[in-house]
């Protein structure tokens, strides 16, 4: 059901400025078209009949902030989404990473963790997991709690299993989880070397050096200026010869990184120059 539009452009600006000045979350450089939809959606789900009501509730109930942030950001994800991308990671990137004694990977905007577990499976199958560390970050503490549990709906497993096989997986995908009623609980060994932590791409700085940074379908929610700012953050966080992986429709073309990175064939993976 399409949510009716209840918020005007000026009102959205007011709301974002409130959230920034009162709570310190800066969404002012997020793409407005998407934010508008998310605000309309939250008004329907949480039964606010007007912008004024939403604004009042948000400003006077600090405990509502976490839900607000979680709902106005998009947390749709799946395991092994775009299997061709994961195949390219397996075939082209992991063999390179394997030449390092210790592998650090940053999954920026990991949401509920499906991609982190996919990455752990890839590393395990390449026999690299025991010397890898995956930093999976998101600005929403709530989704990170879910991610750390490694419990996903069983109804998704058919799709994930197909994706996994298309990505070049040769194991029985169901060997990675225990089915229990309507959920699948992933092997805790898979999360042993994942660090789930909050990090806001807008306001937080680089916190380590990585050989691979994966940030897929996050930048589409930012305006161009913020996209460039985040590209700089990734650049500062990547070793030379490190890899940067983006979503199927994202690119570093036209960005400040363009000249210092080389794309791997047609994949959305770029390698930093020496």
């Amino acid at each position: 059901m399409l949510e009716p539009n209840v918020i005007k452009d000026e009102e959205l600006e007011i709301l974002l400025n409130d959230v920034f000045s009162v709570y310190g979350y800066d969404f002012t450089q997020y793409s407005k078209a998407s934010l508008k939809r998310r605000v309309n959606r939250i008004c329907v789900i949480d039964k606010f009949t007007s912008f004024a009501e939403l604004r009042y509730h948000l400003l006077h109930h600090p405990e509502y902030l976490q839900r607000f942030v979680e709902e106005i950001t998009v947390n749709v994800t799946e395991m092994f989404r775009d299997p061709g991308f994961f195949k390219a990671l397996r075939d082209k990137v992991l063999p390179q990473l394997g030449t390092y004694p210790f592998i650090r990977i940053w999954l920026a905007g990991c949401s509920t963790g499906e991609e982190a577990y996919s990455m752990a499976i890839l590393l395990r199958e390449a026999n690299l997991y025991n010397r890898s560390l995956i930093y999976a970050t998101d600005l929403n503490p709530g989704v990170l709690e879910k991610a750390a549990k490694g419990i996903f709906p069983i109804a998704q497993m058919k799709l994930y299993s197909e994706n996994y096989m298309l990505s070049g997986g040769l194991q029985d995908f169901s060997s990675y989880y225990m089915a229990n009623y309507d959920v699948a609980k992933f092997d805790t060994k898979l999360s042993e070397r994942i660090i789930f932590a909050t990090h806001n791409l807008v306001s937080d700085s680089s916190f380590n050096e990585f050989q691979l940074v994966v940030c897929r379908n996050v930048l589409i929610y930012f305006d161009k200026e913020l996209q460039n700012q985040v590209f700089t953050l990734f650049d500062e966080s990547l070793d030379s010869l490190g890899f940067l992986a983006l979503g199927a429709k994202e690119t570093i073309r036209f960005s400040n990184l363009e000249n210092r990175y080389k794309q791997l064939d047609t994949e959305k993976i770029w390698r930093k120059n020496m």
Partner: protein
């Protein structure tokens, strides 16, 4: 053609949405578009989430206008046809930029026609023209209502000429459409906007 729009209004964007049975009619309509169209055309079709889809190539073979798959934060140019990429919603910013969005499917669809129509209506108001073609679900009908309430123009393919009539029929029942057109009348409708 029934239209109550002001004579000074200029079309900034033409959207075409369709589902089952719409590709065939689209391929018959595209060659009839004039080459010096004064606005961009954006096509939202229900399609499989297949990254290797050749739909843009297929469309390109049926028009002399340039055909591009829309990319995130791309600026829309007049006389160019854009195709919504598979598995993303296509949204419109105020300054002729498009944004991609990977939020929940709507009407079991991503891209959803409703989502794009609503977003474009908010961005372009009465400078928007939206067309709904053949299809088997009601995606697009709510979006057309948004276009209408922003004083945009709404055209719907004549259900009798549609391979699957459900979608245009729903639109005619629920929305005050400006014109119901047969494919042969499409060039007259669009090329004079």
């Amino acid at each position: 053609m029934a239209s109550d729009r002001k004579s000074d209004s200029k079309v900034e964007l033409l959207l075409m949405g369709g589902s089952a049975g719409s590709l065939k009619v689209l391929l018959s309509l595209l060659p009839t578009l004039r080459q010096d169209l004064a606005f961009p055309v954006v096509i939202i079709l229900h399609r499989k989430a297949d990254p290797d889809s050749m739909l843009d190539v297929l469309l390109r073979n049926h028009t002399k206008l340039p055909v591009l798959e829309a990319e995130d934060k791309m600026t829309l140019q007049k006389g160019t046809i854009y195709l919504a990429p598979p598995d993303y919603h296509l949204l419109f910013e105020s300054n002729k930029l498009v944004s991609l969005d990977y939020s929940e499917k709507l009407n079991y669809s991503r891209p959803s026609i409703d989502v794009s129509f609503q977003s474009a209506a908010l961005a372009c108001r009465d400078k928007l023209v939206a067309i709904l073609l053949s299809g088997a679900n009601a995606d697009g009908v709510e979006g057309l209502k948004c276009v209408k309430s922003a004083d945009g123009l709404v055209f719907v393919q004549d259900p009798d000429t549609a391979e699957v009539a459900y979608m245009p029929r729903q639109a005619i029942v629920h929305v005050k459409v400006d014109a119901v057109f047969k494919p042969e009348h499409f060039p007259g409708l669009i090329n004079n906007l």
